[in-house]
């Protein structure tokens, strides 16, 4: 299925800033199940857009605006073809653990087998691990399904209850959060049993008949786990789904910190306000006449010149929902 994605990010600065530098991880991945057929990134004020592939294989676009400016708009448009992945078996033999361990010992999965900044082991996580009886009693695939639905059942989807930089304990304590929190919790649980597991930043195409919990006009996040004989399989604990033809993958990393849609710094004594609009539509449908912007959120980054003010992690609005 072909999708057209529009992702508009608007920054408004309370005072003019200069020398802003921005990195964007917005170009959908091209691999076996997904092909990014076209991608355009434009900015206002205009800037020369450069790109590179980061150490995780994600395409990153970067640009800078040297002169004074009070607004910055980043518009990303992508045309993506997503295939449904091959259907999963109902379960795997219990011997799959052995196979998995042998794969893990041969290649370098170190970083996605240990806690990363947002997936630290905590007493609350240990408690939740016991609650879901996460261990190697089931085969790996069955276990992943159980964790996926376990998180879905035990947590309420509640935007604005956690922050973009919230540790998993916030969501674990309140038993509510958004897709970013659920993904971090699932990653932490899955890595504990020795399954390589990574964070996926992307979009979910919502159809009314699906009753997805996650917000439609927003970026989305889920996880991918490595299974022997199958490869990477996506699990979406927010919606109790195995990732399929509606999940559009943009970037992968150890956790959110590796893949924020944008991050940047600027010089100037200003606060920045940010709003984001996303639309994901089948490419056959016409472009939306109007984009729905998230409410404007003031993010408290202001630096005294010549200090750098950082927009990283302050970008509450970019929390993946």
């Amino acid at each position: 299925m072909h999708y057209t994605i529009r992702h508009i990010t608007r920054f408004h600065y309370t005072h003019p800033v200069s020398e802003s530098l921005t990195e964007a991880r917005m170009q959908p991945i091209t691999d076996a199940n997904q092909r990014c057929l076209n991608f355009e990134l434009s900015t206002s004020p205009e800037a020369r857009i450069m790109s590179y592939r980061d150490h995780l294989g994600n395409i990153v676009h970067n640009f800078d605006i040297p002169g004074h400016h009070s607004k910055l708009t980043i518009t990303a448009k992508a045309l993506v073809d997503v295939q449904d992945p091959a259907p999963l078996p109902d379960s795997l033999p219990i011997s799959a653990w052995k196979e998995l361990d042998s794969i893990v010992s041969r290649d370098d999965f170190y970083e996605i087998l240990v806690p990363s900044p947002f997936t630290q082991a905590t007493p609350l996580l240990a408690e939740f691990t016991r609650e879901l009886a996460v261990g190697r009693d089931d085969d790996p695939l069955t276990l992943l399904h159980r964790i996926n639905s376990g998180i879905f059942q035990r947590f309420d989807y509640a935007p604005q209850t956690t922050r973009v930089d919230s540790p998993i304990d916030d969501a674990l304590r309140a038993r509510k959060g958004v897709c970013q929190d659920f993904s971090h919790i699932m990653i932490a649980l899955v890595r504990q049993v020795g399954i390589p597991c990574r964070y996926v930043s992307g979009y979910l195409f919502h159809r009314t008949e699906d009753h997805d919990r996650s917000a439609a006009d927003s970026s989305h996040a889920w996880v991918e786990a490595l299974l022997p004989g199958i490869g990477w399989v996506g699990f979406d604990p927010t919606n109790n789904l195995v990732a399929g033809g509606r999940h559009i993958r943009v970037a992968v990393g150890c956790d959110y910190a590796d893949v924020p849609p944008t991050r940047g710094v600027f010089k100037g004594q200003a606060k920045s306000e940010l709003s984001v609009a996303v639309s994901v539509l089948p490419s056959t449908e016409p472009a939306p006449t109007q984009m729905n912007y998230s409410p404007i959120l003031s993010i408290g980054s202001h630096g005294a010149e010549p200090d750098w003010a950082s927009e990283e992690f302050a970008q509450q609005i970019q929390q993946q929902q």
Partner: protein, 502 residues
């Protein structure tokens, strides 16, 4: 002059030999051949004259503003770097071994870094545990797959050597990030040439004053190919940094601009320097700023010292950095234990310079041994430099030992321990008399794709307190000039030709 078998002249009355190797005296208290001339000169030098020369030397340092900052003390402000008058002398043959050993080591460590940040063969082959890399706080995952200019990761290294009681040199630690102290090496030489002009001239000391030009050549070799006139700058954290004097000194000697982060600007992945005549492109940066602070966009967002976006320009190949980002993973003190294996792995050779026995606290049985012998060992945090955060077992209190027991148990990977090594002793001028003090040696290694250059000698650091084994300048140590002698055969030729010329 022959020495009477019993007792020493009064000048050396306070000179006691301990368990350590003594640079000047044999165990029988006879001066070693290469120290004989110095020994005799000292006998002829009245104490008041020695004091006078020490004062002249100190004044010279003060006048040149050669100071540094000691952190972590209340009075932590600028001080003169204490200078000891008496040179430390190394023979040609000894230096030959050191030079070969350092060249071997830096070559292997550079190959190690390239491998780590590309295919990681040494990890797949199980020679170095993968965990050790990933748990090292100086490992920069962002460097993976990044092509550094000419595959040179370490352009400038300072490798700390000690002389063990059997008289051989061994490596105590590698400094592959932003080693400092080379300016003191250069200034010490200038001062001693004024204080002991005759002695110096007659001793046949190999020169070191080409260091700055060799450093410049090493930096130039990183510039884009065929660039006729690359713009190279020295990037300093600023005047509050303990080594600011050195940054300014080296920039001046090389004729380069000394810049701070705010003097640089990034546009379209190119680094520019702000000048009164507008922006000027920068090709190579000799950076004296730690990785963490070099780019607030890529690394620490709270850094005000670096240049935002620098890492992108670096990745794009538009600017070269010396040293590369991420070299700290190879001078981690736990990695140090693996360096002999690393040398064997990449070069197929045995290490010429030995390591000091090292216990990794991350290993259960090694940690148990360390915890049981805390009073005998030196415990070091793996990622620190400058002698901060160490426990010197034999000189520690019960309370300090308990504190370290707690620290080690909390984060074992962060600590290593070594048996207390008796650093060698060298004669030092102590208030008009001559006494032994413990010393080490930090030679500076310049490494480029074409050659490895080590100016003969380095910075000999001195533990000024009697009996102390801590030589770090940040911990109150001082330094002395280091004389590496010409090959005696060359020297005869040299002297002959000089005489005939005269």
């Amino acid at each position: 002059m022959t020495l009477p078998a019993t007792g020493l002249p009064e000048r050396f009355a306070a000179y006691e030999l301990g368990a350590a190797y003594d640079e000047m005296f044999t165990p029988e208290m006879r001066p070693r051949a290469h120290y004989q001339t110095l020994y005799e000169s000292l006998l002829e030098l009245p104490p008041e004259e020695m004091r006078r020369r020490q004062e002249a030397a100190d004044l010279s340092f003060l006048n040149q503003g050669i100071t540094f900052t000691v952190y972590g003390r209340d009075e932590g402000t600028e001080r003169i770097f204490p200078f000891d008058l008496l040179p430390r002398i190394i023979t040609h043959a000894e230096w030959d071994t050191v030079e070969r050993g350092l060249t071997q080591r830096i070559t292997a460590l550079n190959l190690f870094l390239k491998d780590l940040y590309h295919h990681g063969k040494i990890l797949s082959d199980g020679v170095v545990p993968r965990e050790l890399i990933y748990t090292c706080k100086h490992f920069r995952r962002d460097m993976r797959g990044l092509q550094v200019r000419r595959d040179i990761y370490v352009s400038v290294a300072g490798i700390d050597l000690i002389r063990t009681p059997d008289g051989s040199f061994a490596v105590l630690e590698d400094n592959l990030r932003v080693p400092s102290g080379v300016s003191y090496m250069l200034v010490n030489r200038q001062v001693i040439m004024r204080v002991f002009p005759h002695l110096f001239r007659n001793y046949g000391v190999r020169p070191i004053d080409h260091y700055s030009q060799a450093l410049l050549a090493t930096l130039r070799a990183l510039a884009p190919d065929n660039h006729p006139d690359p713009n190279i700058v020295v990037l300093t954290p600023g005047v509050y940094n303990s080594a600011y004097f050195e940054h300014a000194f080296l920039a001046r000697q090389m004729g380069l601009e000394l810049v701070e982060g705010r003097d640089l600007l990034l546009h379209d992945n190119v680094v520019y320097m702000r000048t009164t005549a507008g922006l000027k492109r920068v090709d190579v940066i000799y950076r004296r700023i730690d990785d963490d602070f070099v780019d607030p966009l890529a690394f620490r967002p709270d850094s005000m010292l670096g240049v935002a976006g620098l890492f992108n320009a670096y990745r794009a190949g538009n600017v070269a950095l010396a040293n590369a980002i991420g070299t700290g993973v190879a001078d981690d003190k736990a990695m140090y234990a693996y360096v002999p294996k690393i040398i064997k792995y990449y070069l197929g050779e045995d290490a010429i310079l030995q390591n000091v026995d090292t216990y990794l606290c991350g290993d259960d049985s090694q940690r148990a041994y360390v915890l049981a012998n805390l009073d005998k060992m030196v415990v070091k945090p793996v990622g620190e430099s400058g002698g901060y955060g160490m426990l010197i077992g034999p000189h520690s209190t019960r309370k300090q030992q308990e504190e370290f027991r707690h620290l080690i148990s909390a984060t074992p990977r962060n600590y290593i321990a070594q048996p207390t090594v008796q650093l060698s002793c060298a004669p030092c001028s102590v208030d008009g008399s001559v006494e032994p003090r413990h010393i080490d040696l930090r030679p500076y290694v310049l490494h480029s794709a074409e050659r490895t250059t080590i100016v003969p000698g380095g910075l000999t650091r001195v533990a000024l307190t009697k009996g102390s084994l801590v030589v770090n300048s940040s911990q109150g140590g001082g330094s002395k000039d280091t004389w590496v002698l010409f090959d005696p055969r060359d020297r005869i030729d040299g002297e002959t030709s000089r005489r005939s010329f005269l």
